[in-house]
């Protein structure tokens, strides 16, 4: 009788010094202390990382926004010509359209890339086939799954830093070297509405015929030869605008995403801390109960 009753007490006494390191099996059904501790630690690390990414994104955002503001002037000024000339996309039977999707290479910024891909897919579903030129790895990965046959060119390496005009020019050159003559070219980019919202939007870039056919173009009195130059240059301008604005959107989206991630991690840390404390308390109480029962049992004898 004695030996049986004293056994748990003995075991508890032996286990007591090692208690903190390894939780005894009394807390069956609960996660052990060590497991909770490990999880807490990893969540803390994740919070640190997301927080750092947020800080980096916010500093980049201010630069990106400044670049966006200046680039907007470029794009809008070059579009003023077409507005004054009332250029429209010609209504022809044989339409050959090109869509340039401006995303970037990096993820972890919410749904801005998938927003662009979704808009592209909707456009293709509504208006039939378009050829695609894709800037950025993310949109390429998404669209190559559904519309691989439409893709003509893809560019990578954008989005590391604020896009430069030289980037836009090089892309515009490569696009104008494409073998097919397109009747209209659309640039799809994320329009920056405010720090938390953006919208996938199109900019029109016109073909030479469209520029020539526009009603008020003769008012500018330019020779026909240079219209090709104008078209190439305005494509580069619009592309630069789209890239810079898309970049600003991406940074602000990343800032928000990382902000939310840090907040969620903070919440999780709170919950796990409480769970950890409770479990530790339960383990201690359980051991105390064992010791006391053992002590009383042996005192009775």
């Amino acid at each position: 009788m004695l030996s049986r009753a004293a056994r748990p007490a003995l075991r508890a006494a032996v286990a007591a010094p090692a208690r903190v390191a390894a939780a005894p099996s009394t807390a069956a059904g609960y996660a052990t202390l060590r497991e909770i501790e490990g999880r807490l630690k990893s969540i803390r690390n994740i919070e640190k990382i997301t927080n750092t990414m947020k800080v980096v994104a916010s500093t980049k955002l201010t630069r990106a926004q400044r670049a966006m503001d200046t680039s907007r002037n470029y794009g809008q000024t070059s579009n003023e010509v077409f507005e004054a000339a009332e250029t429209k996309v010609p209504e022809t039977e044989q339409k050959k359209s090109l869509v340039i999707v401006c995303s970037s290479d990096k993820g972890l910024c919410g749904g801005i890339h998938s927003g662009l891909s979704r808009r592209t897919r909707r456009l293709i579903a509504e208006e039939g086939d378009h050829d695609l030129v894709i800037v950025g790895e993310k949109a390429k990965a998404q669209l190559s799954r559904s519309n691989a046959n439409n893709i003509q060119l893809s560019f990578a390496g954008i989005g590391k830093d604020v896009p430069t005009f030289a980037d836009a020019q090089a892309i515009a050159d490569q696009i104008s070297l494409l073998p097919t003559e397109y009747t209209d070219v659309k640039i799809l980019y994320n329009k920056f509405i405010n720090a938390t919202s953006y919208e996938a939007t199109f900019i029109e870039a016109f073909s030479e015929e469209a520029i020539l056919a526009s009603p008020n173009f003769s008012a500018f009195e330019v020779e026909d030869e240079v219209i090709g130059n104008l078209r190439e240059y305005s494509l580069a301008n619009s592309l630069y605008w789209a890239l810079a604005e898309g970049h600003a959107c991406e940074q602000s989206a990343r800032r928000n995403a990382m902000d939310n991630a840090s907040k969620n991690a903070g919440e999780m840390i709170g919950k796990y801390q409480i769970l950890y404390n409770r479990t530790r308390q339960a383990v201690i109480t359980g051991e105390l109960v064992e010791i006391i029962t053992g002590a009383t049992a042996s005192a009775d004898m």
């Binding site: 893709i151 003509q152 893809s154 390496g157 430069t164 090089a170 892309i171």
Partner: protein, 72 residues
């Protein structure tokens, strides 16, 4: 009469880029370093055919090569 750069096979954008590069290089040392960073590109691209991506190439080199070809 066509311009000389057109005859050399350059596009207008390329012509502008070269002119801008020349202008940047003629700046003073401190300003030039800042300005030259605006002219850098490091893009790669690949051509797609029938839903398959071609080999990734350096954009700058490919542009130069394509224009040299159209020069003749």
């Amino acid at each position: 009469m066509t311009a000389v750069w057109k005859a050399a096979g350059l596009t207008y954008n390329r012509y502008l880029a070269i002119a801008a590069r020349a202008a940047r290089r003629s700046l003073k040392e401190d300003k030039r370093i800042i300005a030259e960073r605006r002219g850098e590109t490091d893009l790669k691209f690949s051509k797609w055919q029938n839903g398959k991506a071609g080999e990734a190439q350096n954009l700058e080199k490919a542009n130069t090569a394509a224009m040299a070809e159209s020069a003749s």
